[in-house]
């Protein structure tokens, strides 16, 4: 019969993060619950939608060990409405009480035995990353992953390491665009063996959102159970590895270009955003015209009108034109921290390559849209 005392702040933070693993569309009632488990190791909250699972340990004083399951929505709504500092959770015969100095609430109890365990074993440690580097570099890649589960491999981020000292290649693509960060985490301690993991992009996105003081992110995998666990401080994000071959991404990287443009990211981002106002009605098509020392973004819609925005640019090579889905441009520019971006292309029908001039280990490729003049 669980009894624990918790600081409201810690409970709130813990619950709102674990809540990411609750799917409102869950068919099984038990999956709409938090599992709160107090034992000699501390107080743990976990949730899962059977695709991913999150477990977090929150600082608490556990007076009596026990496991309870409570409706995630009701519990979270109540906790976020409380203003006092300390909360006591205590399990009774037929219900669960949550009390503060002024509040006395009582919840219906859900049997806990139906709650699935997130994993049987954690698996073996594959790599340990620096948290800041991991967050910074995966963020450049993960947005390119496909949201379409019909193409399983592309719905994940590919972690590929060929040899020991060259680092990991991070790849994400959705069939129209691709991000590649080469030589990631060279210094991070990781196993010597080659690595080939496709990790669901949703798992990576959750790891990016973890709020922990700890500076290390540890990656565990178990090939036996086909699962991946990211550990950051007291938080664990569990998912399943995607079993598939990743398409040969190296083949599609152009090795040459006719035109290269250097431009300022914030300026281009504004230009794309203002073109999207018109492009929205026209399949998000934004045209890039390169020439005369200018990079021109333009969009037009037969119903709404048209717009043209010039961006200062340094141009090498031929004049050229190409059209992209403006959403892709915005996704890409939005994910970049660098102020400077370069763009290379060979013709209006060949994929365009975006790079960060000072970082030769990153590139982003977008497939152009064929437009009729």
């Amino acid at each position: 019969m669980l009894e624990a005392v918790i600081l409201l702040e810690n409970l709130k933070n813990g619950l709102s993060f674990v809540n990411h693993a609750i799917s409102q569309r869950a068919q099984l009632p038990i999956l709409l619950n938090f599992l709160i488990d107090g034992n000699k190791n501390g107080l743990f909250i976990c949730a899962t939608d059977l695709e991913i699972g999150i477990r977090i340990k929150i600082p608490a004083k556990v007076n009596k060990n026990g496991r309870i399951a409570v409706s995630a929505k009701t519990f979270l709504d109540l906790v976020t409405s409380i203003t006092q500092e300390k909360v006591t959770i205590s399990e009774k015969e037929n219900n669960i009480n949550l009390t503060t100095e002024k509040v006395k609430a009582s919840f219906a109890k859900t049997p806990t035995d139906e709650f699935p365990s997130l994993y049987q074993e954690k698996g073996s440690k594959v790599a340990e990353f620096d948290k800041e580097e991991f967050k910074k570099e995966t963020a450049k890649v993960v947005f390119s992953a496909s949201l379409d589960i019909g193409r399983p491999a592309l719905s994940g981020v590919y972690f590929e390491k060929q040899e020991a000292d060259v680092g990991i290649n991070l790849v994400a693509a959705d069939g129209f665009r691709l991000s590649l960060r080469q030589g990631f985490a060279k210094k991070a301690s990781s196993k010597k063996e080659p690595l080939k993991l496709i990790i669901p992009s949703r798992v990576i996105k959750e790891v990016l959102g973890v709020k922990e003081e700890d500076q290390k992110i540890t990656l565990f995998t178990s090939s036996k159970s086909n699962q991946v666990v990211f550990g950051v401080g007291d938080t664990e994000v569990v998912g399943r590895l995607i079993e598939s071959d990743y398409p040969d991404y190296k083949k599609i990287i152009p090795d040459d270009f006719d035109t290269k443009v250097y431009f300022d990211k914030p300026e281009a981002e504004d230009a794309v955003r203002s073109c999207l106002v018109f492009a929205r009605e026209a399949a998000n098509i934004i045209k890039l015209s390169i020439g005369n020392g200018k990079l021109k973004f333009s969009a037009s819609s037969p119903q709404l009108g048209e717009n043209e925005v010039e961006v200062d640019a340094k141009i090498e090579g031929e004049e050229n034109e190409i059209a992209f889905n403006g959403r892709y441009l915005l996704d890409f520019l939005g994910a970049m921290e660098s102020e400077d971006i370069s763009f290379e292309m060979t013709g209006p029908l060949n994929p365009g390559v975006f790079r960060i001039p000072k970082e030769d280990n990153f590139l982003h490729i977008i497939m152009p849209i064929r437009i009729q003049e």
């Binding site: 869950a26 068919q27 099984l28 009632p29 999956l31 899962t48 059977l50 695709e51 699972g53 035995d113 139906e114 699935p116 365990s117 997130l118 994993y119 049987q120 193409r151 399983p152 491999a153 592309l154 693509a173 959705d174 069939g175 129209f176 665009r177 691709l178 159970s225 086909n226 699962q227 569990v238 399943r240 995607i242 079993e243 598939s244 071959d245 398409p247 040969d248 991404y249 083949k251 599609i252 152009p254 060949n350 994929p351 490729i365 497939m367």
Partner: protein
Amino acid sequence: MSMDKKVDKLWKKILSEIQTEVSSANFLTLFKGTYLLSLEDNVATIAAPSTMIIDLLNKRYYTLIKDSVDANTGRENKLIFVPKTNGTVSSYTNDPPGPLFASNRQEKVFGHLPRVRPDYTFQNFAVSATNQLAYVSSQAVSKKIGTAYNPLFIYGPVGVGKTHLMQAVANEVYKNAPDKKILYMTSEDFTNDVVEAIRGNETAKMKKKFRNLDLLMIDDIQFIGGKERVQEELFHTFNILVDRASQIILTSDRAPQVLKKTEKRLISRFSGGLTVDIETPDFELRCAILLTKAKKYNFDLNIETAKIIAEKTEDTRELEGLLLRVMTEAATKEEAASPHLAKQVLLSSGFLRSKAFYPEDIIKEVCEFFKIKPAQLKGERRDAMLVRARHVCMFVLKKQGGLTYSEIGNLIGGRDHTTIMHGVEKIENLLTDANYRGDFLRMSFFAHLHVEKQTDLHPNS
């Protein structure tokens, strides 16, 4: 039925039983993504998408599943769960995932071989007696360009694989020596080049373009017939290339000696190397071609179905077209390719006579063939020729139209059904006789009886 299908079927049955026992929420969440991997030595290995799902299945439904598996197999089984998702592995072998992955794939590997199809290789060229010489010579040429046989002249009717072989040489040469300069063009391209060069007074420039080549391929060379300036330019180009030991490969629909309106000196150049012909593919080769093509599309085509399709056409392009239709049909109907399915496709493509069939047309055709009037056919006279024509007509109406004996009797002057039976039998007997069979098969209305021709009419083969 294959083992896999058996297992799939068993699992479907078990799932349908379980579905009645558990709530639909549980069924959708926990059982939907499961499948039976194997059932061997009393161990059922069941795949489920994630470890969390497996945990729940183990905790709550082990007995339920086990009981159902046991009841369906009639013995005690142990259950093992493994995390695996269905059908995701190797789903990219053929279909590039999205245009980005499709785009540069070809250009990258075959960057400087414009217009050469990368899938035209020696590996996927089906060989039999009709094209073996051409195949072997092309391979020899690809290994020693300019020295083995120069020029290589391949001729044969449409759709026998001339272009495939020629481009296979190009792909092979390029694979082994990417720095070789290779040019593939049709004789029309060549003609256009010449016309362009003459118009711009740049014949020297054109010569330069060809002079540096290591391998020149010109497809359908017969079209230069009657074009004098083009022939002259080709003649000079030819001499230059052969002098510097560059390989030339030509294809045509006929042998060099019978090319129309072509200069003698050019013909003698064409025949100066090796001339090989490819004949229309025989039945076995057509089957092999179908199987090769099906493999290319990763489509499971069994030999029986291939035979049905191969019987119907001699043109390999048409073969591929029919194969694609069968594949589409199989995909939309979600069933495997079977002889039955193939027949349906052939029927709808007009390769098999449809059921809409006009007896009067048959009677007319038969009469035309025997040069008699329908009235004579339906009449009472019993001249030998009239009797033969009558019997043939009865046979065709029966075999192709599937009419009843009395229906046929009514059509042919109100004869008794036993008369018709006799007539049909008569022709059937004659068909087994080698002396007559040839004559019959030449009649155009027998052509529609393709199926029977291969099966019913050859009781001894």
